[in-house]
Symmetry: C3
Subunit: 207 residues, 3 copies
């Protein structure tokens, strides 16, 4: 397990539990639940690694990620017998995963000497696209395209990350502040129904 | 055609025919049917090759796979005039493809010196994810996430593969036994409605 | 911006505007609209680059594509206040993108010394799969699988490209003829409802 940083372990576990809950809503069988948890937790990082050409993807050779997903899925399934309000639990773990994985993705970009904008893009892809691939797999329009300040939260966290770094704050506190900002902002945005403007006009259906 | 092993040719042809039948259910045009057959037959192997970094994917440079898909699609379309029960035919070819492609994927993992668990994962991805990408493309929730012992069949076949190898059975009969087990188990599981447990509890819709 | 050829800029801008209009139909928020425009414009080229192993994908390191998408999306959003008939505008920009990106993809294949059939496949993937990934993201069955002469138009353009090249026409006019053929053929095919044959027979739903 030494090949994964703590931050990746927490993010993977949080997203696996969020994925488990999302999969149970769709009445999948236990194997389907595991696969959806896996996609939610590792889909964003996998897409990121494909886009930057970091292949083979790490989880093919290193079983630790898969083991974390498996244990978290089992924990998620056990939770279900004691938990009343699924939606809040799902939201909580999802926010945790969002914060941790944004920082992981930004770090990957920094290691590649990318421009801050590209680092923030990688952070956002790492944090958001596991959920996007999960939603598409479950035949839903990805939530992040529709409502709620979701990806925008990651971008905001990323901007704060590089602003703090620029004014000389050391890396470690910057990571923690970025992470906490994202988790809090995400929770607050759902609590108070913040959302981005929707521009819409009726359109004739395409042919 | 010498660049493809017999086992790949049979798997490709079987999945192309299964894909052709699935596409016809959705009233696609002939080009759409060919693309869906192509995705069904080559999608799983393509995803596998992307994940392990075996790029460019083989079918870009080597037209033999595309030719097999094309011929099988034409054969599938001709079948439709003489066949009464689509569903059984689709199931039969799908099971054949499942067995052959699991063995192909396991072999790719062995060639990379991967751990048996990773080999079985590659076998399952090769065999199942063509169908997953097809189902997503047709706006269905992938069947394998929902019901029927599908991916589980590949995993079972993979476990038998490595158990037999471990007790000293030579590779060739191991491949045949693995393949036959998967095809039979898949057919029996559909015939007798075997399925994995579904864990479900009503959940408040997300926001 | 010197890293992008003019042909790529026009194709990217046209597809971004088409994507913006498609996203507005689904009532996405402004961030969702930008992502869908990005996927429409760069999804096909990204899939092509993954398949041929040209990684990292160019837009990770080079922000010019993202900037074009952003500006085009803003332009598309501004258009909406003055435009009456969305559908025709969407169709027009989509056809422009289709023509330009087919030529871009064929060129990539030629640079890799691929067989003309593989070049045409890359051209078609470049031009069509941004739209496919967009449609899948928006929970639609991709239009190109269903009706309208869409991918077929790219294939036709590609065949004309290589026929003209074979009889000795220089590259530059060949590219222009290929491009114009695709745009015109696409517009005419929609205007006159040309479509490929659909083969369909009722099928028992797969259990």
């Amino acid at each position: 397990m030494e090949s994964l940083k703590l931050i990746e372990i927490v993010g993977t576990a949080a997203f696996s539990i969020a994925g488990t809950f999302a999969a149970m809503e769709k009445k999948l069988d236990v194997f389907g639940i595991f696969i959806i948890a896996f996609i939610t937790a590792l889909g964003g990082g996998t897409l990121r690694d494909i886009l930057i050409g970091e292949l083979p993807v790490k989880w093919i050779f290193d079983p630790s990620s898969a083991i974390i997903v498996l244990l978290s899925t089992i924990a998620g399934l056990l939770f279900t017998t004691v938990i009343k309000n699924y939606h809040n639990v799902l939201l909580f773990f999802d926010s945790i995963g969002l914060g941790f994985f944004t920082v992981v993705g930004i770090q990957v970009g920094i290691d590649l000497d990318l421009h801050p904008a590209a680092c923030i893009a990688l952070g956002t892809i790492t944090a958001c696209f596991g959920g996007v691939i999960r939603d598409i797999s479950l035949s839903n329009i990805p939530l992040i395209f529709q409502k709620e300040i979701y990806a925008t939260t990651c971008i905001l966290g990323g901007v704060i990350f590089f602003l703090l770094l620029k004014i000389g704050v050391p890396k470690m506190p910057v990571e923690v502040i970025c992470l906490v900002t994202i988790v809090l902002f995400r929770l607050l945005s759902v609590r108070y129904h913040w959302q981005l403007p929707v521009i819409w006009k009726p359109v004739k259906p395409s042919s």
